[in-house]
């Protein structure tokens, strides 16, 4: 407070014009902080950080410059904080410059929640800039962004850009926003107030994605971010011990809804998670975090966003209309070491009515051992703890969520209606049946419970309870070869759904065969091949071919789709080949076009969104990997040839499964890179298969390999 007062006094006493006063204040502020703004020089490391350049085009990745970057002194005895961006390319050697002195630096720890890296140099007596207390930071305050990249020499004044504080509490409550120019020129440097104190550390950041380079695309745009220095000081002692920090995870997903209106109602609670230990259950509505009321999903997430792993929080929630409060629970690190659990079935995709019907049972799997059979309908689950109230399983998606949040080794007590006893179609079906022109019917929740909520006891035979011990999902699960001649869905389905839709019904707006389409917003074109045996009552998988750069000509796309035609018919796949809007190749922003394409196709054809696969080679493969590893929002499958990944492989996101099918030619130069990618996705427990293709990097899959890939797509929704 004192410096501010003195400063104001100086302002008034000089009585000069405002512009020269401001000028003087800016220079003073820069001089005051400058000794604490140090340079970071790196040697070696990768050229591209975040995601790789593909096909010679700096596509989803960020090319890392060669210049020095910036750090901020946070303790006099050699502790330097910087943006993780500056070290994300894993340099061979890191040097910190203080004035004209150079010091070798060690990377001590990273805060992956706020994308900061702590360095240590053997130095003493460094100048630590003062911090602006958080509650003194106001929107509209002048703000200077300081950096070392452009400074003529390491002892020249730092570079500076001026702006204001534009907003507080950005990026899930973690960052100050400023309109000063923020870029690699000053990432890691301080955001400084006009009286020469530090508000925060400049970082690239994006509300949409995490990662050291997220938000880079906004450089110099007037949208810049800084992590408040006060927040950093709070965790500094932990980082100094060499303990890296991560976001704290509660272990829940929320029911879909408008984040600004919908209440935070829990859709899944991962077993063993903080929420689980706190006694929260599916269906609970969170009303407060640590006593701070939350009414919307957005508020809930802003409360959780800034928390670290290891922090303890208390949740208030509503269950069955009654207020309750959890004990203090410790947030865990983002899920890493947990294998996906498996029940060992493939679901019938067109199940109507409550529950989910088993299409086939995987030989030797848990379901098989427990005596479950094709045609059995899973209708509910008995809770392990608490009163044995059966929780209904609404549909396939609900069961998938359940399995995904469970652990291998866990015992599930399932309520099962046996294949033979499920025969009450006359009763159930008319109520459940949707009008013919409805959306694909295996799409998502049917909220209406079967009206026969009435006592199940009345039935001669109620659901049986079957205990199944889940196992870890083998990464290389493949569907069995199809039995020739089976008209639909392979194994003998119970009679439930045959005929509830006219099999001969023509897809609206789409004829079987090859056609060129345009997405509604008008910019994107794509080729589509609907198999000749298409039927609206069969949920189809989708294969999206992402062509390499400059390979978007019709004959090439047509040839590829036609190579797939046979497998597509056998496995009920719709083939799509979008045309990249620019010849030079895909960029991350094209994901929007692909999403729009899928939405359009699913609007007219029966599409199973759990079996949509992006497939490509070269630059198309990089785009597919980007969607699977970075965007992670709707794509459940990635199948690529000869493609490695320079970027990070991050943790699985609950509720958004992604599987990988990696093919590499035995003579491809990228063979090691593909092996590395496979190892990394495998370590993170993504389901993944790798296959070796005899021949050179330029050869595509042969018919048998296409058939295998199609079978893999067919297994994507196995549970």
């Amino acid at each position: 407070m004192l410096p501010t007062l003195i400063f104001c006094h100086t302002l008034l006493s000089l009585g000069q014009d405002p512009a020269s006063l401001r000028q003087a204040a800016i220079l003073q502020a820069v001089d005051r902080v400058a000794p604490g703004v140090v340079g970071i020089e790196t040697s070696g490391g990768t050229d591209v950080v975040g995601q790789p350049a593909a096909g010679g085009r700096p596509a989803p990745g960020v090319r890392r410059g060669t210049g020095p970057t910036t750090g901020l002194v946070v303790a006099a005895d050699g502790w330097i904080i910087s943006s993780a961006f500056n070290l994300a390319n894993q340099p061979a050697s890191v040097v910190v410059t203080v004035g004209n002195r150079r010091f070798l630096a060690k990377i001590i720890a990273t805060d992956s929640s706020r994308m900061l890296t702590l360095l240590k140099i053997e130095a003493t007596g460094l100048k630590v800039p003062d911090a602006v207390p958080r509650d003194e930071i106001r929107v509209g305050m002048a703000a200077l962004a300081l950096g070392r990249t452009l400074a003529a020499t390491s002892d020249a004044p730092p570079s500076v850009s001026e702006g204001i504080v534009s907003a507080l509490g950005r990026i899930g409550g973690k960052a100050i926003q400023t309109d000063a120019k923020v870029s690699p020129v000053n990432y890691g440097g301080p955001l400084v107030s006009l009286d020469g104190r530090v508000m925060g550390v400049l970082v690239p950041a994006s509300p949409e994605s995490e990662g050291a380079t997220a938000g880079f695309e906004w450089y110099d745009s007037g949208i810049g971010f800084a992590v408040p220095l006060e927040d950093l000081r709070r965790v500094l002692p932990t980082l100094q011990k060499g303990v890296s920090l991560a976001r704290g995870v509660l272990g829940v997903t929320l029911s879909p809804g408008d984040p600004f209106r919908a209440t935070p109602k829990l859709a899944t609670v991962r077993s063993g998670s903080a929420a689980d230990k706190g006694g929260l259950r599916v269906g609970d509505i969170v009303t407060a975090v640590d006593g701070k009321p939350v009414t919307t999903q957005g508020q809930f997430q802003r409360q959780l966003g800034p928390r670290y792993q290891g922090e303890k929080i208390k949740l208030s929630y509503l269950r069955d209309g009654k207020e309750a409060e959890s004990p203090l629970v410790e947030l865990l690190a983002p899920e890493t070491g947990k294998a996906l659990a498996m029940l060992g079935i493939t679901p019938l995709r067109d199940t109507t009515g409550q529950g989910m019907v088993i299409r086939s049972v995987i030989e030797g799997g848990p379901a098989h051992k427990a005596g479950l059979k094709a045609g059995d309908r899973l209708v509910g689950l008995l809770r392990e703890q608490g009163p044995p109230i059966p929780a209904p399983i609404a549909d396939r998606a609900a069961l998938a969520g359940l399995i995904e949040s469970a652990d291998a080794g866990q015992v599930l007590k399932l309520l099962v209606r046996r294949a033979g006893t499920d025969e009450k179609p006359k009763d159930e079906k008319p109520k459940d049946e949707k009008p013919k022109d409805e959306k694909p019917k295996d799409e998502k929740p049917k909220d209406e419970k079967p009206k026969d909520e009435k006592p199940k006891d009345e039935k001669p035979k109620g659901p049986e309870t079957v205990s199944v011990t889940l196992v870890a999902r083998p990464p290389d699960l493949l569907a069995k070869p199809r039995e020739p001649g089976s008209a639909k869905e392979g194994t003998p389905p119970p009679a439930t759904e045959a005929g509830d839709k006219d099999p001969a019904e023509k897809p609206r707006g789409f004829e079987p065969g090859l056609a060129q389409k345009t997405i509604p917003s008008g910019d994107g074109k794509y080729w589509m091949l609907v198999p000749a045996n298409y039927r609206a009552d069969i949920a189809h998988g989708v294969l999206i071919w992402l062509h390499p750069a400059n390979r978007s000509k019709e004959p090439e796309l047509r040839a590829l789709l036609e190579a797939w035609a046979e497998a597509a018919a056998a496995r009920h796949l719709i083939l799509l080949a979008p045309v990249c809007p620019v010849e030079t190749g895909w960029t991350p922003s094209d994901a929007d076009m692909l999403r729009e394409m899928i939405t359009q196709v699913a609007g007219s054809l029966t599409v199973d969104r759990r079996r949509v696969v992006a497939h490509g080679v070269d630059q198309g493969a990089q785009m597919a990997l980007h969607m699977g590893l970075v965007a992670k929002d709707w794509l459940p499958g990635v199948a690529v040839l000869n493609a490695g990944w320079n970027g990070a492989v991050r943790d699985r996101v609950a509720g958004k499964p992604v599987s990988f099918f990696l093919v590499v030619a035995d003579r491809a130069p990228s063979r090691l890179a593909v092996q590395d990618l496979f190892n990394r996705v495998y370590q993170r427990h993504y389901p993944a298969i790798s296959r070796i293709n005899q021949g050179s990097a330029s050869s595509y899959l042969d018919a048998a390999q296409i058939a295998e890939l199609a079978a893999w797509i067919d297994s994507l929704d196995a549970l």
Binding site: Q23, G65, P68, S93, T153, D220
Partner: protein, 374 residues
């Protein structure tokens, strides 16, 4: 209703004469604008603009602008601040400064034009990082004829050589540049004015370029006090300033990029053999040291990592070569090297590259300082 009233009030406010507090800036803008011209020349192909900006530097109509593609035509035209359209011709193009001097070439042109005195401006105390500045240019050709140019405010972010410190290699000017935090360098902005808040000329707005240090676009101006080193046939060198260019009205250096690249080729030998330069960011690790060479005398050893030369970081083998190309024989250089877990300082005095020595096998030639627009 509320909106209408608001608009009405806003209109009232706008109708008022400028507030006293704004008056100085408005005056500054008017004064600077009268000394600038809108420039029209070659371009319009390959996305290059056919328009630019120029700064009047004499009462008789000499105009300073960036030495870019715009000048590749016999029909240059300028629009004066009062809207007059006049012919202009190229007098001198100086590649080392990346500047060109034009002359308004029209019998009807007045000879008492308002102008910036370059000599005077060059003597003013230089700005420093943090100095508030204004940028004036006809970016995006927003103004025509007598319309005032675009004014931007910002500050000097840094003052540093474009190539070595800022990683801009496609601009021939090698001296320190004024880097600005505002987005001043847009199409058509080249040749505009960077001034102080009081309207004193600080520099000429440069090209649109991105840099290799950060892989971002950079906004810069060539300072009025810019100069370059000229070596005559006898090998004597002296500095030529921008002021001298404007006064003598002639170019000093060939503008042929090939000649200039040859001039910049490394001419010194150190005896350091670096590891093979396989990727763009190969660190400058010493692979071997030639016996009886400057390197062996300086005590360099295999596996030393060269961190810096004369205080300037060496992030890669490419950067090492770039630095060597600017060194002269028998001039000692201070290296900072990493040896194990220590930083050590060594001084090495390179010798003249023997004329018979074959070019180093693994080394690519340094980037020619070509002007891509020409």
């Amino acid at each position: 209703m509320g909106t209408t009233l608001g608009l009405f009030l806003a209109a009232l406010v706008l109708e008022q004469p400028a507030q006293p507090a704004d008056a100085p800036l408005a005056d500054v803008a008017r004064r600077v604008d009268a000394r600038l011209v809108k420039l029209y020349g070659a371009g319009g192909v390959k996305g290059l603009p056919a328009y630019g900006t120029g700064v009047v530097v004499s009462p008789t109509g000499y105009v300073l602008t960036i030495n870019n593609h715009l000048l590749d035509t016999s029909s240059l035209r300028v629009h004066m601040a009062d809207g007059t359209r006049l012919e202009a011709k190229l007098i001198a193009a100086e590649p080392e400064l990346d500047l060109a001097l034009l002359k308004i070439d029209d019998p009807t042109a007045p000879d008492d034009l308002p102008y910036f005195d370059i000599g005077l401006a060059a003597k003013a105390p230089p700005p420093r990082p943090g100095t508030l500045v204004l940028g004036f240019s006809n970016q995006f050709q927003i103004a025509t004829r007598d319309e005032p140019l675009t004014v931007q405010r910002g500050m000097v972010a840094a003052i540093a050589p474009l190539a070595a410190r800022i990683g801009v290699f496609q601009v021939p000017y090698r001296g320190p540049a004024l880097v600005v935090d505002a987005i001043t360098n847009n199409p058509g902005a080249a040749g505009g004015a960077l001034t102080t808040r009081q309207g004193q000329l600080l520099g000429i707005v440069g090209r649109e370029v991105s840099n290799e240090l950060t892989q971002t676009w950079i906004n810069y101006a060539i300072p009025v006090w810019a100069s370059f080193e000229l070596t005559d046939a006898q090998g004597k060198s002296r500095r030529v300033s921008l002021t001298e260019l404007v006064e003598k009205k002639e170019a000093y250096k060939p503008s042929n990029p090939a000649d200039r690249a040859r001039e910049r080729a490394p001419s010194v030998e150190t005896g350091i053999i670096l590891v093979p330069d396989v990727v763009e960011r190969t660190p400058a690790y010493v692979d071997a040291v030639r016996p009886v060479s400057p390197a062996s005398r300086a005590g360099l050893q295999p596996d030393d990592l060269i961190l810096a030369v004369e205080g300037m970081a060496v992030p890669s083998i490419g950067a090492w070569r770039e630095i060597l190309s600017g060194r002269r024989p028998d001039e000692p250089m201070r290296l900072e090297i990493r040896r194990g877990d220590k930083i050590e300082q060594v001084v090495i005095t390179p010798v003249k590259l023997p004329a018979t020595a074959p070019p180093k096998p693994a080394n690519n030639p340094p980037k020619p300082a070509a002007n891509p627009a020409r």
